[in-house]
Chain length 240, copies 6
């Protein structure tokens, strides 16, 4: 199958790293195509960023000419999941939903450790909308900018261990990495702590493969039915 | 005060009608400026439309050069409320929240009658995110396109009476008009039924005036703090 | 319009102060009539007080001979909202609901700072019954008697700053003053802290004016339908 | 033990009938004292009635000179439970809570059949406040006045069978009689249907005896702590 | 009446102690028969134990030849309540439900103090399934093995006082003993603290007597209907 | 990987059919071992059956001598998930959770069509305990015995189409097959209706493979920590 992994921001290096992470976990029959929006925020750290990113991701996929079998949305807590599901027939797997679904199979309550504190209201809103918030024990943040994770690895490690410890104290039995930026470091982070760690990118790749395996595609009866044809002036913003 | 009433779609006639409705209920000291996005869907009837509209509304306000005191988002059930509150310091009043808040002051449980069925999942999601869904008894639809309301008034009246009757049977004690397109006809619709009818545009104008009266502006502590300065390439889409 | 602001307790000085606060925020076309029950507790600090106050407020309004357009219930967390809505045709706006509705327009989660700790169970019960509790982050108390607020202003200020700080730490982005007794000091209290402060009396005056502006009155279909005519011996307790 | 069964209305015949019902189920060591308020509504059929009744019940118990061990509040869905618990040290058992607690021991989901439709919002509010609503499958009404039950027994039976059938269709596995007025006919009603029937008066008598048996009295730590001593002018309304 | 009190574990001394506790609170007309499973865990301290215990309790009752009127399940937070209700016609009262029902009659929010921490997820699951979790303020543990309670009484007392204090700080107004092993010491434990203490065994005995008093038996309409006759090989595990 | 698919009942033909279904969807590197309990009910149709089955499944796995990498519990709505997760280190995937997780990726609200009505309370309880019930629109039943599905295929098809139509009318956008007995017919059933159909056995196989792919195993911190070593007399019931 051909699986598009769509970064939420325009950072080429993060797109590359997320693509590598996806390839590392994907099955042998899966071709990973890592894409990024052609415009929008360099990192998603709040509602404005998430809103722009959602439209830029829509824009990217509507303008994408090639065949693909499923889409992974690689921004944790980002908005736009419903619109992508409406526009596409292929399954759309959000790393937020994917991470906590896999986590709930292996722990009764899950925690999330994200990069920066202002992601929290986005993550909570995304999980509530997905009906997946009830077993959430804790959402904590490293309080570091998304794009600095790769640059200050020692500090990331120190803070990660601290926040995981606090999350476990609040009842978490498994930890989800709450940012696409942490995905490339998933194995190293998992080695630092005693509880299982779920990376949303890996989880979403596996679930997208599962959808393909079961021949499931998005229901077009109800909330995510194909949009009606009508005038939408100025869109797509960057034509195919 | 100067109050911007921002239509969610690009229809000039609906923008004009919503502006007139707002002027009809506003206080004498309120200047209404009716705006529409410069691009986007001609009507909002699903998640794609709502997503594009949200970005186009952001785009419109960031490019708006003049002073204003508060903003009314005039799309019922639309997305983008949080991003506008993050970007602006002025109060942002969504007609969805506004309608049901006013309705809950005068009836124990409220119903919503919207234009077309596919708005339902948007409206429910918006009200759940706002913590205002618990007292909702019913969401029903006329099953007519947004832009045809003005053209087939007799049919609108017939269906409205039917749907209000069914909503009351489900427990609604007050009815909210679930579409900006119905706002201009609020008085005529209210005359057709025995239960009170709340028009979200009128409700939002009154609540925006109330915010101004109480000198309240959006909290910048927490979820809606001002966005960080960073590169957001390609945005605003239409420069100031 | 003529707006009755009904104190929940019999304290003449608090009735006067609440009336002044209401006049300070009301529009130029609003006449404020500040009333108090003719019997009942000198301050409302628990369920017995709230219960007696509810009946004394009913008694007061049934015995009130003059025209009025809307009623503000000026006791925070008090009981009796439903019975007043049943008895009256005019809109009844409770300062509890009003405060948190306005607060939710400008902050994602709200906190409440009340005077004394035993008000907490009343406030929580009132907000749950109103379907407005979901976005509550914190209810905290100054732990001072209602009637001593005016007398020990320095201590009030010190404790208010402390409790607001703790509420913000629990996630509050906007603070509601949880007592009619704090309303007269709303501006001074708001100046002490960085987050927006909403005074329920001011909020309720604005929402009552909004109801009048939109020509909304209490729905008589369902929960708050006019009481049947029957024998209710010994009532009203103090005849008209 | 001496158990006060307090009718919510002033009807002497209903007080007598409720007292007889209580005696029929009470243990041999239980003395039943059936009381009614000295003022208030002849029947409780809405929020005004419930509010007056709550104060009249408080009034009655504060003026009651004799020893007693526990109190049963015999109005289904009525208000005032918290204030009575605050004022008294003895256990206070509400027939609303009592009925559904016993029902939940013998059926997974319960239904309620009350006399008149406007009791529904009171009953739902009472059960939600008590944290006992989750397993409620149905609240239905005979749509007959409270005081006419004894007079039109054939019609009561016909409607009761119909409403129980509809409640079972909605998922009820056990039926609670939703009115003190139905309590005296509990055995006859139970014989009419296939599902178990719980009468709140009987349930409350048994639970009050259970509290006595276990030496439990109302917690004075928290919500129901003894009221502070203060001026409450005009109260009690009818002195001891 | 004859009331079977069924211990969840095979400990003869605990069965004896629970039986004595039951006899101490039961009415004079109640004969207590204390039973234990003939196989299974020596103490119930997790999901495996609870699962085995549930089947062993079923096994015990199906093999029980004598008449009885009601059953008390004496394991706190244990599983198997629904299956016993399905199999038996007599009322089945679980000490978990019973404790918190009685507690909610005398305190607005309840806390639970259990023996060991791993019981917490069982207790929470049991209360959620029973629709009785909403008013739970706190679940705390002594962190001592179930079977060591009787042996280290001084340590139990010290820890109990500490945990009750913390539970009250979290909002509990009444404390439930969260383990059948604590039931025999209920009076001594209650004397140690200022808040009321409810022992589930005593509560369940009283509620089972109440069911008998009201002639209530398990509804066979719906979830707990009598099992169909079919092949269940190898069961009962220990024949009658 | 070696994946054990554990039937909940003792029917050899169903075990065989479920194994075949699992093999049909599993990846090429997955070896499926289909097991059944050695004792217990021939079909699971209520709480007694589910309870026995849970213990018999535990018994089977504790006595299983060979290596395996993950376990699929193949009874829809059955109990015992938590105990198996406690006892095993390998991931345990329940077809109930698995079906609705996959369904929620492709439809906003899901429905369930099971074989017989009495499974409904089991299914609802299982989904609530898993925190996966919020997006459930409908649970419906064919009202046919589990073991007769294969024998009366025409009737199954007719009823399935009817029940799916009713579920869609209640808001379902995707249908989960609510019984392991329906799994072998998943493709034929999916072809009968317009909405996507998810078979829990297939979903669980895919999720178990995903756990293996991501190297996730059950968290031993918290609710599902390894059971303590202690005496559990008479268990395992059938020794290794």
């Amino acid at each position: 199958m051909r699986l598009v992994v769509l970064n939420a921001n325009t950072s080429a290096s993060m797109t590359e790293a997320i693509g590598q992470r996806a390839r590392a976990v994907a099955g042998p029959a899966t071709e990973i195509v890592a894409l990024a929006p052609t415009w929008g925020p360099a990192s998603v750290e709040g509602w404005l960023d998430a809103q722009l990113s959602a439209t830029a991701m829509l824009d990217r996929m509507v303008g994408w000419p090639d065949h693909f079998d499923a889409l992974v949305m690689a921004g944790f807590g980002d908005v736009g999941r419903e619109a992508l599901r409406e526009v596409l027939d292929q399954p759309v797997v959000d790393i937020t939903e994917a991470a906590v679904m896999m986590a709930q199979l292996i722990g009764h309550r899950y925690g999330i450790v994200t990069t920066h504190g202002r992601a929290r209201s986005l993550i909570e809103a995304s999980l509530r909308a997905a009906g997946q918030f009830e077993r959430c024990a804790s959402i904590r943040a490293l309080d570091m900018p998304v794009l600095s994770v790769a640059e200050d690895w020692e500090e990331v490690g120190r803070r990660f261990r601290d926040e995981v410890g606090l999350a476990v104290g609040e009842g978490a039995e498994v930890i989800c990495l709450g940012s696409g930026a942490l995905a490339p470091f998933a194995n190293a982070l998992a080695d630092m702590v005693e509880v299982p760690v779920v990376d949303g990118v890996a989880a979403a790749v596996a679930l997208a493969e599962s959808c393909h395996q079961l021949a499931l595609s998005t229901s077009k009866v109800g909330a995510w039915a194909t949009p009606t044809v009508k005038e939408r002036s100025g869109w797509p913003i960057t034509g195919p």
